[in-house]
Assembly symmetry: C2
Homo-oligomer: 226 residues x 2
């Protein structure tokens, strides 16, 4: 797939100067369809936040609900406590697609799709809304699983913080070009091309309490293609 | 593998208060053997930096050389220009190992290994040192490839910036526990266990200039296990 083939005919401008892709601007996209497609294919995001001038980057599960990007964790987590009070955050989601090999070191690259969301983080205060968010998170990764589980207790809900930021100041950056060489390099006697990178599920390993014949859970094919 | 089984007998203390793992401290490790093993198995890191109080998180290839963690990019990159002047950075590397399913939503989890390196970034000034770093980066991912490539030009070297930070203020956090339920939940009629997550290479696709019979390049089995 070439970059131009997947570019929308109407180009959405960057929502802010600070989300504008500077380096190789032709790789930047600002339309929500592109941004949402990347967010919806990812399990892990990296949340950036600042404490006393020092940036921290913490990996965590993320999920989208409409115009919001969510993450969660223990109410005792430093990352969650540092990000829940309307402080600036950056949540970046990265999907690795292929290794790209050329005849020069300079033209080696990686095909990837990533989204950077800038915003301020807010905690979900309402317990019903919090429970619904956790349900959506679970159903997104394991379709049909929520109703099979032992219901969430009030204490578990209290021990969990759900955060979100709006997906308004966001950009996507894609390298989907495949290999290319500097003019004249193509005939240099080295291999050129791409090697796909695939994130896949292995064989499920039930614990000692799975009844005979119980099927293994469904996992989102969007996040983990079969 | 249980967390306790892989914990070293001599526990290395955190190098600083800000790298100390607070939430579930038994998952924190500070010994260089653990930290290096995670860094050496990763291709991508997420670099956190601050511009005008706003955190940014940019994905990029990282590699270790001794006590230093390196990354690189175009000399025109905003990320590189923002991080090269001794400003505070955080580089986080995350390896996803397994989905962990339990009988309650609360005990669902993910097995992962991650490293967070806090430091200040510095650019490599010396061209010979820069070239050697790029060689190490290439050989790490594609063993034996560097000498087969069209040599790097002075102009390409100038267009590339190589940055590093020392691996002195760093922590690893590992969840390698597998599944567990709250006491009494084990017999709830839902599947519990783990589903491994594997990042693998697909079938290499040569471009139109690969001579007949040329073998595909070797890729690091440490980073992409066969």
């Amino acid at each position: 797939m070439s970059a131009s083939a997947s570019r929308p005919t109407t180009v959405t401008p960057p929502p802010s100067d600070r989300t504008k892709v500077r380096r190789l601007p032709e790789r930047g996209r600002y339309d929500r369809a592109t941004i949402d497609a990347i967010l919806d294919s990812a399990l892990i995001g990296h949340v950036g936040y600042v404490i006393d001038g020092q940036p921290f980057v913490t990996p965590t599960s993320v999920w989208r609900q409409g115009d919001r990007l969510y993450w969660h964790g223990s109410s005792a987590s430093r990352m969650l406590r540092a990000t829940m009070d309307d402080v600036p955050v950056c949540v970046t989601v990265t999907l690795l697609d292929a290794l790209v090999l050329a005849r020069s070191g300079f033209d080696h690259s990686i095909d990837y799709r990533c989204v950077m969301v800038l915003g301020t983080a807010r905690a979900v205060d309402d317990p019903d809304e919090q429970l619904e968010s956790l349900r959506i998170f679970m159903e997104r990764l394991y379709p049909g699983r929520w109703d099979l589980l032992r219901p969430v207790t009030r204490q578990e809900l209290k021990a969990t913080t759900v955060l979100w930021t709006t997906i308004s100041e966001a950009s996507a950056k894609l390298r989907v070009d495949g290999p290319h060489d500097e003019p004249g390099d193509e005939t240099w006697p080295a291999w050129g091309g791409l090697i796909p990178v695939e994130t896949r599920l292995g064989v499920p390993e039930g614990d000692g309490f799975v009844p005979d014949g119980m099927p293994t859970p469904l996992v989102s094919a969007r996040i983990f293609p079969a």
